[in-house]
């Protein structure tokens, strides 16, 4: 009766994790080979949510294509939009009003926090602790409400346009964000109480999923995944864009190279994001929120590349323009895609339970990988 259970040549168990699996948070498919409980081989199988956004963008105008990027990494849609808007602006040399810059950075940092909150809850859920998810969503909900008031959406915002932002801020925005800062400051300590110090949690995280600094660079890991291995790769610091160079914040780097370091990086990043918003929220300059731009944008002939830091790592937007109204070729270098390639390296030799935990610390968003 057991013929149908697939085994590899040397009798190891082959298991399909996904595309429908509670731990993959989407439609990622991993083909893993198990020796007992130990993972000996892992092969990611992508494309279940591939929409060929790059191909679509070739038929869309420079105003339209930004909206497809909200659907890539839907947890940091503001930042994706920011990258596209920056590319178009740098190509056309549009000066954007300072008010728009401030709004963009505040929104980006709020997005980053919301994304990290969701990651925190989801990762705890992967580890079997179900309660943190609800605590994380309580805070995330207030961010979403703030977003909804100003942008009209809670997930795919489409708020940044070439030249600035689409609308002005909602009158309640500043007050609500300030309220949120006070609220979240106490809650982030609660996160630590709830999970970080837990002995079971630490045992599950420490010395698990190790990736050295050299390997992290070679695998192209970015974002908290690489910073947990001691790689300085925060684009906001090393290639500052927008108004980040004027701001006082630290690039969080941990040197543990393991899951716990990656966890710590994200936890500390939430505090850094709070710090950034605190600096900006009282000083949003008055004035225009959008620069005057032509109705139809035409990029000059050439190649344009922009790098921004999303919640998951480095997002690159590479536009090849032939001078038309739509890109000749567009490439999104998504952070999840490269981070995923390091998964096998991290997981090999660990137990299947650790696979889930490591995937949690990579913070993969599948539409971001598949595009």
């Amino acid at each position: 009766m057991f013929e149908q259970v697939s085994t590899s040549e040397n009798g190891e168990l082959v298991i399909n994790v996904g595309p429908q699996h509670p731990a993959t948070h989407g439609v990622l498919h991993l083909l893993i080979t198990l020796n007992g409980e130990t993972v000996t081989k892992l092969e990611p199988n992508l494309g279940y949510i591939h929409r060929s956004i790059e191909k679509m963008c070739e038929s869309l105008s420079y105003r339209q294509f930004i909206y497809t990027t909200s659907r890539m990494d839907y947890l940091s849609s503001h930042i994706n939009n920011h990258a596209c808007a920056l590319t178009v602006e740098s190509a056309l040399q549009i000066e954007i009003p300072e008010r728009a810059e401030y709004i963009r950075v505040i929104m980006s940092e709020l997005t980053r926090m919301a994304s990290h909150q969701l990651w925190w809850g989801a990762m705890a859920m992967d580890l079997g602790a179900l309660s943190p998810f609800f605590y994380a969503f309580r805070e995330r909900e207030s961010i979403n409400d703030i977003m909804e008031e100003t942008c009209g959406a809670r997930l795919t915002m489409n708020y940044f346009v070439p030249g600035g932002v689409m609308y002005d801020l909602h009158p309640n925005f500043v007050a609500k964000v300030k309220e949120f800062i006070v609220f979240f400051k106490s809650k982030i300590d609660e996160y630590d109480e709830l999970l970080t110090g837990n002995i079971i949690f630490q045992n599950r995280m420490k010395n698990i999923g190790i990736i050295s600094k050299e390997d992290a660079i070679s695998y192209g890991c970015t974002g908290p995944t690489a910073r947990g291995s001691g790689v300085s790769c925060d684009i906001r610091k090393i290639y500052p864009y927008s108004i980040y160079q004027k701001l006082d914040f630290d690039e969080v780097i941990e040197h543990g190279c393991d899951s716990f370091s990656r966890y710590q990086v994200r936890m500390k990043e939430m505090r850094q994001s709070l710090k950034i918003i605190e600096q900006l929220i009282d000083n949003i300059p008055k004035g225009e929120f959008q620069a005057k731009t032509k109705a139809v944008l035409k990029l000059p002939k050439g190649e344009f590349y922009t790098r921004v830091e999303t919640a998951r790592g480095e997002l690159g937007v590479y536009i090849v323009s032939e001078g038309g109204t739509s890109p000749y070729r567009i490439k999104f270098r998504s952070p999840g895609f490269s981070n995923l390639s390091a998964l096998e390296h991290m997981v090999k030799g660990h137990k299947i339970g650790d696979l889930v935990a490591i995937m949690g610390t990579l913070d993969l968003v599948i539409p971001d990988i598949d595009r």
Binding site: M1, H21, E37, L127, A129, L130, I200, N203
Partner: protein
Amino acid sequence: MLRLENISSFIHTSLSNHLSETSVLLLEMTIIALAAITLFALLGLILVLMERKVSAWIQIRLGPNRVGPKGIFQTAADTLKLVLKEGFVPDGADKFLYKLAPFVVMIIAMILLAPIAFAKNFAIWDLNIGVFFITAISSVSVIGILMAGWASNNQYSLLGAMRSGAQIISYEISAGMAILSIVVLTGSLQISDIVASQSNGWWLFKGHIPALIAFVIYIIAVTAETNRAPFDMAEAESELTGGFHTEYAGMRFALFFLAEYINIFIVCAIGATLFLGGWMPFHIGNWEAFNHIMDYIPSSIWFLSKTFFLIFVIMWFRWTFPRLRIDQLLQLEWKYLLPISLFNLLLITLIAIKGWHF
């Protein structure tokens, strides 16, 4: 005052007046079987609702609140849904074992209800090896789980079953040691004797620190034995999707689900009996008035409140801790709990021989 023992003796005497001894026995057995099944279903309903309410409370949400007042009929509605669902057998499964497994698990859970003293002089079968009976029978339930995992013809189920096998067999030892330490103190395996020995104080308080250690080990071990988080390796929904019951649906799944909760009830009932005095009321030294008031509360209430307190503790664990990894789980048992409980048993034996306990 209405006491459960009066009801049972009333039934017995009124039946004996009219019928022969054999038919009385047969009739009583039928009544007990019906009562046990009713209790089984009722406990399942209550415990599932309790779990959902407790988890909701811990997770800052409301929990079921639509079906009936405060959502109390939610589990009944869920059960109805599960009964109506198609119970299919996956292709390539071992049909006989696949269908048998939930019943094995359920029947074992029901057998375990037998020796438990629900109130003063009120147990289905107060046999003289009560505690031993429970330890012996409860370890059989792993067979049902292994059966389910093997017969499903699914890798996840198989892994879950294997984990569960390793886990239940390991933690049986610690649980057994903890139970044994109370047996050493009492000198009897009979549940009624163990409860009676606590009339002047619960073993948790009488047995000094070793009894406390035994209690803690017992709680950890039974949490693992019942496959509850943080030891829910057999299910581990984020790793193995559903563990041994991945392929089960409908009523067969419901039986696993119910059996899990009945097992929790049983282990907590045993814990309450051994360490918290079973149905014995809470007494404090010479506080006559206080003790008198405590005596006035029916023994069944005492028993149930202690049991449900322990159940609450186990639920609290589930909604607070992350899951252990399988090797950490076995490490915890074989490297820490087992040596500690062995040493603890030695201490308890010393206390029992020297008569140091109160």
